[in-house]
């Protein structure tokens, strides 16, 4: 099963917010989306794009408790693992 990587998340975030500067390097991956400059609408937009790419539907309750990129990667990979 393909893993949902930080590279994929970075690309999706760049496309969603049209910002080439999106940077999820090691020192930022545990920073909250809010502190990275993504408000709740931006997070909704990112989640929608992930769902489209993966043909998945991430559970709402998992999204609500996700506040950092690392947590988002975990949620997506859990969802992908459950699909197998």
């Amino acid at each position: 099963m393909p893993e949902f990587t930080v590279g994929t998340l970075t690309r999706i975030m760049r496309e969603c917010v049209r910002d080439a500067e999106v940077d999820l390097s090691a020192d930022r991956i545990d920073t909250s989306f809010e502190e990275l400059g993504y408000d709740s609408l931006a997070v909704l937009e990112i989640v929608a794009r992930i769902n489209q790419e993966l043909g998945a539907r991430l559970p709402d309750e998992a999204i609500e408790t996700t506040s950092t990129p690392r947590q988002a990667l975990a949620v997506v990979n859990d969802a992908l693992a459950e699909r197998i």
Binding site: C16, V17, R18, D19, A20, G37, L41, A42, L44, E45, A48, N51, Q52, R57
Partner: protein
């Protein structure tokens, strides 16, 4: 308390920034042509006044992703206006900075794209930003967020009349303690969906050649050309800026009686009330920026109103919007900007197009700009559905000092 306009940010089909716009306008350079943003050849109206994309090149990608073109034009106009005013918002208390804009139709193009996604794919494909991007208040909100303005904020939706109403509300915000207000308005009505909506008014021209289209006050007027853009303005209390463009002296609005009521249209009442509010007589108005609908019945109503207040050929009248098309919420805002530039430079910009129908008895400033002593300008705007607005703008002190005469002999008394 005196409300002055200290900054002008123009994003118009015939010029970006007020310098470029003003020289194009004086030279009679039109920004109207065949619509190029999409293939409009199958539409009844295929002409438009389009703003060069360079105008919005400075809007950051993150903001562009969540905004309609209309808001991007507003953001760009705001940057120009703040720079022009020499006002750095970070130096002012957030809660004393206000944003009050006009919007006529909201985020058309963004909305159309998302509706297409909804029908072609699924609700999940609709952007989360649709929830804010289409909404009339989006420009006000994005400008307020971008510049940290937390004072009174609002939006006025009154089609073409909204641009004047927003300025009036801006003045009210100063009365309640705001130090500066970002106001004015923009519009981006050149998408297929927006054009179809406008067509229901029956007021769009079906001319294919710009030379035949939007001929306000002509005997063969055939409707208007839609255009995009507008102007953002900075309104402040008199005092901070050394050289404001002019003063908002008075404003009034009326609403027309319902069709078929037998009662007369109320534009003339709006004019009289605005003069009263400004404490000026009709003799003190040196130029009128007309609403200039370009529809015979509406042109007749406007010229009747002008004749009633100023007498036949009683005041110079102009419609520089013949070079941009009607910009809806952006239209009256741009007219205010143009009137202020006119007061500053003591010259009336021209109307382009054919001579007016002599029955209207208008002194229309045609094709060439006309130097004149300009103390006060009257700006008129009507919005589809019955809105009438009139605003009196006064020249800044000193602007008319060097003029040859203090009393224009060019007018007939009321």
């Amino acid at each position: 308390m005196s409300a002055v306009v200290t900054g002008i940010g123009v994003v118009a089909p015939n010029g970006i920034g007020h310098e470029a716009y003003w020289s194009a306008t004086l030279a009679g350079v039109s920004g109207v042509g065949p619509i190029e943003r999409f293939d409009a050849s199958g539409y009844r109206c295929c002409l438009g006044g389009e703003v060069d994309d360079a105008a919005i090149a400075g809007v950051p990608g993150r903001l562009a992703a969540q905004t309609d073109r209309w808001t991007q034009l507003g953001l760009a106009g705001t940057e120009l206006a703040l720079a022009d005013a020499g006002l750095d918002p970070s130096t002012v208390d957030d809660y004393r900075l206000a944003v009050i804009t006009a919007s006529s139709s909201g985020g058309n193009e963004f909305g159309q794209r998302e509706i297409e996604r909804l029908w072609a794919h699924s609700p999940e494909h609709v952007s989360a930003y649709q929830s804010i991007a289409w909404f009339y208040a989006a420009t006000t909100g994005q400008v307020a967020i971008r510049h940290g303005m937390r004072g009174p904020c609002g939006v006025v939706v009154a089609e073409q009349a909204g641009g004047l109403e927003a300025l009036s509300d801006a003045r009210r915000a100063l009365d309640s303690g705001a130090v500066a207000v970002v106001t004015g308005g923009t519009e981006a009505p050149l998408s297929p969906y927006a054009l179809v909506c406008q067509a229901t008014s029956g007021r769009l021209t079906d001319a294919a050649d710009p030379a035949d289209a939007y001929r306000p006050f002509a005997a063969d007027a055939n409707g208007h050309v839609p255009g995009e853009g507008g102007a953002m303005l900075i309104v402040e209390q008199a005092g901070r800026a050394a050289a404001p463009y002019g003063t908002i002296r008075g404003y009034a609005n009326t609403f027309d009686p319902r069709p078929g009521s037998g009662r007369p249209p109320s534009l003339v009442r709006a004019i009289r009330l605005a003069l009263q509010a400004a404490h000026v007589t009709s003799e003190e108005i040196d130029v009128v920026f007309a609403d200039a609908a370009g529809v015979p019945e509406l042109d007749r109503i406007e010229s009747d109103a002008l004749r009633a207040v100023f007498g036949p050929h009683g005041v110079p009248v102009t419609a520089p919007k013949t070079m941009t098309g009607r910009l809806y919420a952006g239209g009256a805002s741009l007219d205010v900007a143009t009137a202020l530039l006119s007061l500053r430079h003591q010259i009336i910009p021209p109307t382009i197009g054919p001579a007016p129908d002599p029955r209207y008895e208008l002194d229309l400033v045609l094709r060439e700009p006309r130097p004149a002593t300009l103390r006060n300008a009257l700006v008129l705007a009507r919005g589809y559905g019955g809105f009438n607005s009139a605003m009196v703008l006064g020249a800044a002190p000193g602007n008319t000092d060097g003029a040859a005469r203090s009393d224009g002999p060019h007018r007939t008394d009321d």
